[in-house]
Every structure is written in C-alpha cells, then in structure tokens.
C-alpha cells in the first residue's frame, strides 16, 4: 500500500475512534467513501477533513453532555422520578463526576477566598487552571477508552521531570519542588504525580514501575513528605489490588521513600490560602469551613461512586481514591497545599488530568437509545482489511 493511502487509512481510523458511538454509521460512511476515492492525495485530504469533523463532533458531544449534567445538578427541579435516575447515571460515570466534583471544589474554594479577602489574582489563577484542566478533560476523552500502550514510557518521562525539579527546581527553605513559568510557580509533583498514578494503576508494566521508582526517589530528594505519602498510599492500594511482582515492588520503593521523608526535617511554614485551609476557613465562618471540608471530601467522590457502581477499571478508581484521600489528609495534618479548595493551579490541573484518565462508565442515554447491538464504527483493522480487499486504482 502506498504511503499516502496508508496515512489516509490511519487518519480515518483515528477519526473513527474519536466519533461518539451514536455516530458510528457516519464513521463507516467516511471509511467506505475513502475506499471509493481512487486518487491517493485526494484520499489523504478527505481523511484529514474527516478527522477534523470527528474532532469537532466529539468535542460538541462532550460539551453537550457536560452541560446537561451541570444543568441537572444546578437545577434539579425535575420530578423526583426523573432526576434520581439521572443522578444515578452520573454517579456511574467517574470521568464526568470527577469533572463536576473538581469544578464544585474550585468554586467553593473561590467563594471561601473571596470571603476571606484573598487577592483577586488567586481566584483568577484557580479559575484559569479549571478552564485549562476542563479543556484537557475534553481532549483526553479517547485516552480514557484506549489501552494506553505507551503509558509506561510516559510515566518514566514524567518521573524524569520530577527528578529534574529536585535537582534544578526553585528551592525554598531546603525544599526544591517548584518550577517558574513566567509569573507563576508550579508544583510539578502536584500536576504530574496524580496522572502517573492513574496511568500506572491502569497498566502496571515494567517501564511504569521504573517511572514510579524514579518518582519516589525524586520526592525523597526534593523532599516532599506530602506527595511521597500520596504516592505510597496509591502504590500500596495498587499493589494489594494487583498482587503481582511489579506493583508490589513499586509499593515497596514508594513506602521506603515516604519513610525517608518522615525522618527528614520539613521546615516549610504555612502559606495563607494555600496551607491549613481546612482550619483557617472556620475562622472566616463556620459555614465557610464546612463548605471547604465538603469541597475537599468531594474530590474522592468519583472513586467511591465508581467503585460502588462498578463503573470500570477498579485499580484506577482505587488508586485515584487513595491519591486524593492522601492529599487531603496531608493538607489536614501538615503545612501542605489544600487541593482545589485552596489557592494553587497545580492541584487543579493535576486533579482534572487524573480525572481525565478515569473510566468513562456506561452512558445511559446511549445505551437506551442504541442498545448493545448498536452498529460500531469500523476499527483500524476493519478499514485496512476493506482497503486491501478493494481493487487498486
């Protein structure tokens, strides 16, 4: 097969995977039309256009789905018999529920900061991180369904970034955990570690185990007691769930790194609106404190609801729950950033990126409308075999 034709097929396969399931007839239509085009360059241009169409249709479908869920949450005025099944449907979709919980926690945190007189820049940074994270959530929809063949190598690359931060990052009071991006200072581990944890929980292979070991080393070197604790908690859960050699090795190394950070001095003082928010919010008003506590607790709801509903990859849901429970616990116990309800875009990004990789769960509407026998779009192999069967021009 010629290169341009092969490329066209690959592009159309990608488009087919992107299209929402209820449009699978249309992905078949595009694939069969591609076969009918004799000129290779025209076929390539046609396939590229189909990819653009699939991307815009996929984004539109996700935006509609998220908007509908938000509407249901904000205006639950429908009859009880209608709204309860809708809520049940959302609770069985960890990715969507995670986005909603993250947005709610950021909203609560912004309200608290506004009431407590935080600089308006803090609110804007959290809002910008929420928008950026939600955009990534939309873009990573396909990754949540795919097999993530390269996840181990991605984990390894991200662990190298953590190690670089330990060596060359911005240092403060003996800790080196941050990098400067223009006027912003980002805590790299809060962005990357939750993503690495979910990727590893979904596919605990050898490169991934190497990545988690390097991450544990980096966190011990920085040192970052809270994030080392987060890593250890998640890896122990993944090790117990999988009971295989590599995850148990990752859990052991992570626990050792956490132990090392416990005996190292941690002299960082508390930063207003970042650390100890779970306590200082009560100084503003008992209701503000309660709202912040609820916002922080909401971070683990997608995992709890997903596990309860059996909504897909159990290991990823357990790791997600352990990761964010440990992050909230660390914020409650020490001078550690309070994720999402406190000031800090890194935690917002890390949360939404990790949510993006959670299982999507069953789509109630689609299942009802199309049933299990709904026609599926052709996969790459289907299209390739059809192309081979077609007479060449």
């Amino acid at each position: 097969m010629r290169l341009a034709r092969l490329l066209a097929v690959r592009i159309l396969s990608a488009a087919s995977r992107l299209l929402p399931r209820h449009l699978s007839t249309w992905s078949s239509a595009m694939a069969h039309e591609l076969i009918a085009i004799d000129d290779d360059r025209a076929a390539l241009a046609f396939a590229a256009g189909c990819l653009r169409a699939a991307l815009s249709l996929a984004i539109a479908a996700r935006v509609r789905s998220a908007a509908s869920a938000v509407r249901t949450l904000l205006f639950p005025s429908a009859p009880f018999s209608w709204s309860l099944p809708t809520m049940n449907g959302i609770s069985a979709r960890p990715r969507l529920l995670g986005l909603l919980c993250g947005a709610a926690a950021v909203g609560i945190g912004m309200a608290y900061m506004q009431a407590a007189g935080a600089p308006s820049r803090y609110l804007l940074v959290n809002l910008a991180a929420l928008v950026l994270g939600a955009t990534a959530w939309l873009a990573l929809g396909g990754a949540a369904r795919s097999r993530l063949a390269g996840s181990g190598r991605a984990t390894l690359a991200m662990s190298a970034a953590l190690l670089m931060t330990a060596g060359f990052g911005v240092a403060a009071e003996g800790a080196s955990r941050w990098v400067s991006v223009g006027p912003l200072t980002l805590q790299v581990s809060l962005i990357l570690l939750p993503v690495m944890i979910i990727l590893y929980a979904r596919r605990p292979d050898a490169p991934g185990t190497g990545g988690m070991a390097v991450a544990a080393l980096a966190l011990a070197l920085q040192p970052d007691r809270a994030m080392a604790g987060v890593l250890a908690a998640a890896m122990i859960v993944v090790g117990i769930e999988n009971r295989r050699r590599l995850p148990i090795l990752a859990a052991s190394v992570s626990a050792a790194a956490f132990g090392w950070t416990l005996i190292r001095p941690d002299s960082l003082g508390a930063t207003a609106f970042v650390d100890r928010v779970l306590y200082t919010a009560f100084d503003v008003h008992p209701l503000a404190g309660a709202a912040v506590a609820i916002g922080a607790a909401a971070l683990v709801v997608p995992a709890a609801a997903g596990l309860w509903k059996g909504a897909g990859d159990r290991s990823a849901l357990l790791a997600f729950g352990a990761c964010w429970s440990a992050a909230v616990a660390a914020a409650a116990l020490g001078n550690c950033p309070t994720p999402l309800v406190g000031y800090g875009g890194s935690a917002v990004l890390g949360y939404l990126l990790s949510v993006s990789l959670l299982p999507g769960g069953a789509r109630r509407g689609e299942a009802a409308a199309f049933g299990s026998s709904a026609p599926r779009g052709p996969g790459p192999d289907d299209i390739l075999s059809e192309l081979r069967a077609a007479p060449s021009a």
Partner: protein
C-alpha cells in the same frame, strides 16, 4: 422539526447540489467535489441535515464487484422545501442587489 435560523454558505451550496440531484442518490465524496466543500465541513452538515429530517441516507450495494457499499444521500420532501426556499431567498437577494446597483449607476 425546526428550521435552522440562518444557513451558512456551505449549507446552502450543499442543499443546492442535493436539490439539483433530484431523486437521484449522491455520495459524500461526489458532493464534496461538486460543491467544493471539504469533508471536514461536509459530514457535520450531512449529520445535522439528517438529524433535522431534511436528508435521508441509505447504504447502497456496490455496482462493481469487490467494492464496499456506500452511504448515499438525497433530500426528503421537507429538505426539498427548505432548499427551494433558500434558493428563492438567494434569487430575491440577487435581484435586490441588482436593482440597487442599477439605481446607483443611473
């Protein structure tokens, strides 16, 4: 069924091509070539028109052996009415523009 508030130039061109085809079925690539609309714009338009019941689609068996079936399209009665109304609106606008140009020249 709701009529779209304003149709884009691409949508009007597509409707015109489908109207010209009459009861004959057209294919996606054929429509793209006829109208100059790229596939990235064409398919969302076809999906939207079918969703609004202006377009019917069916799988057609290949004429030549070894070729796969193709998805074919033609306007429904409502689609023909919409396409005719759009064509009439375009003609009216052209006439009005021509009239103004004539007044300006005289």
């Amino acid at each position: 069924m709701t009529r779209p508030r304003a149709l884009s130039g691409h949508a009007r061109a597509l409707l015109a091509a489908l109207l010209a085809a009459g009861p004959r079925w057209s294919y996606g690539y054929e429509l793209a070539s006829l109208t100059g609309i790229k596939s990235g714009t064409l398919y969302p338009l076809l999906i939207r028109l079918e969703g609004q019941s202006y377009l019917e689609a069916e799988w057609q068996q290949p004429v030549a052996a070894g070729r796969p079936p193709r998805h074919a399209y033609r306007l429904t009665a409502a689609g023909r009415r919409l396409a005719l109304a759009e064509a009439a609106a375009v003609d009216r606008n052209v006439a009005i523009a021509g009239g103004r140009a004539g007044e300006a020249a005289s």
